[in-house]
Assembly symmetry: C2
Homo-oligomer: 260 residues x 2
């Protein structure tokens, strides 16, 4: 059975119009599907309004107790429930979840020799039982990027990671297509030319493009993650623009990354 | 099959110690169960921090768009997810939901000839299909008092009402015990004496106590709601102190209200 797992970035959540277009397309996707959303700028805005200072270490946001409180409110409360209500209005039977719900995603607080990342969770396990049952009931899952440690502590977890771990965990039961939507049309041959999307990349092409420095910087971890997902059983990974969702899933837009 | 639906009031949520004691007891409750929580003082605190003024009309809080944003954050985000994570740590397989999730509780925006209550939802229907499926999977449901109108709008709904509507809706499939926990030990013969709890009230006793003005003021709508629930198929309603949960369910504390 096929399962589409689609991660939308903050730039879509922050843009009312783009989000509406995306949700229209998402509601139309056939078959089992999961939406994973990040937080966008709203968490930062609420933190500012609450006068909670942001701690950054080496450019990374540190999740202190107050920040965890804000991201839990904004991600699992505002954003998750608004998306669920809007999908329901489109006839899509959505259920909003965090990793704490049904013990779906258990993680541990990140430990690092020198940096205290605070309440950030690195995923240990995806418990697929409930998720598989809900998908079998034709429900659509909407995940906020919050997990828990099984000991009562909520943890902030990167939304890309949530999508990837769900894709890995569910790939034993489903043929999983994992879509990472972002602000560009896909992996570009020329970073300045949105028309230069590479339609299909396999491992050999990737090595070649890296060696020729066509692919560099921020795209490398994205693609490394994509190949890691493929190695762990995910059928295909697609990178492209959220508004093009139906075209992405049909392989007619964005970059499809395949194993071999 | 038996189902316990337990509503906890804000005074429990606001008190870390009491909440822990309650969650210990709740986790131990055998069989199918649903927890419905209100908001407590946290929503008011966050609204104050965000400098969102509260509008009151005739002593009722009006849910304007900003207030809805706050209650959605606090109820469906902070409180719901913390309770879910803490129940998980007690071995209780909790899933947090609002009425928007799985279209579980659909409502309409309250209309009133003279007062604009704002984004307050009066319940139209409880869709029991998903809830019954989740309970059959031995999952425990934790409801935040937020519903939706099916057209993409979230709505603020009284937690007592949510508990009552769930109890009514699920009473065709389950033998439902509905517990309203509050700050007193039960319905008291003497409002100043916590030891004067009336253990059992049927309709005749209620009429008699009302006529004698033993029961008055705020207790009347609570009991009217209880009898309404019983008339619509709920097996029993219990009113008492949250910390006494196991005793309440065993009929050894609080007031049990029964039909006839």
């Amino acid at each position: 059975m096929e399962l589409s797992i689609i991660k939308i970035g903050g730039n879509i959540i922050d843009d009312e119009g783009k989000l509406g277009v995306f949700l229209d397309a998402f509601a139309e996707v056939k078959g089992a599907k999961i939406l994973v959303h990040g937080g966008g700028k709203l968490a930062t805005k609420v933190a500012e309004e609450l006068e909670i200072g942001q701690q950054l270490v080496d450019g990374r946001r540190i999740t202190d107790a107050e920040t965890l409180r804000v991201v839990t409110m904004v991600y699992a409360g505002t954003i998750n429930k608004q998306i669920v209500a809007r999908l329901q209005s489109r006839g899509c039977p959505a259920i909003g979840l965090t990793g704490a719900d049904g013990d779906a995603i258990r993680s541990h607080k990140r430990s690092h020799p020198t940096i205290d990342y605070g309440f950030v969770g690195d995923v240990d396990v995806v418990n697929t039982g409930l998720l598989t049952s809900l998908l079998a009931l034709d429900r659509t899952l909407v995940f906020a990027p919050i997990t828990h440690d099984g000991k009562g502590q909520l943890l902030n977890t990167n939304a890309d990671t949530i999508a990837q771990e769900l894709a890995r965990g569910l790939s034993t039961a489903f043929e999983v297509s994992l879509v990472y939507s972002f602000e560009k049309s896909g992996v570009l041959l020329n970073a300045d030319d949105e028309g230069s999307v590479i339609g299909r990349i396999d491992a050999a092409t990737y090595e070649n493009l890296k060696a020729r420095k066509v692919i560099f910087a921020g795209m490398i971890p994205k693609l490394d993650n994509a190949f890691a997902a493929l190695r762990s059983g995910v059928r295909k990974v697609i990178i492209g623009r959220a508004e093009d969702l139906s075209l992405l899933l049909a392989g007619r837009s964005g970059t499809t990354i395949i194993h071999e």
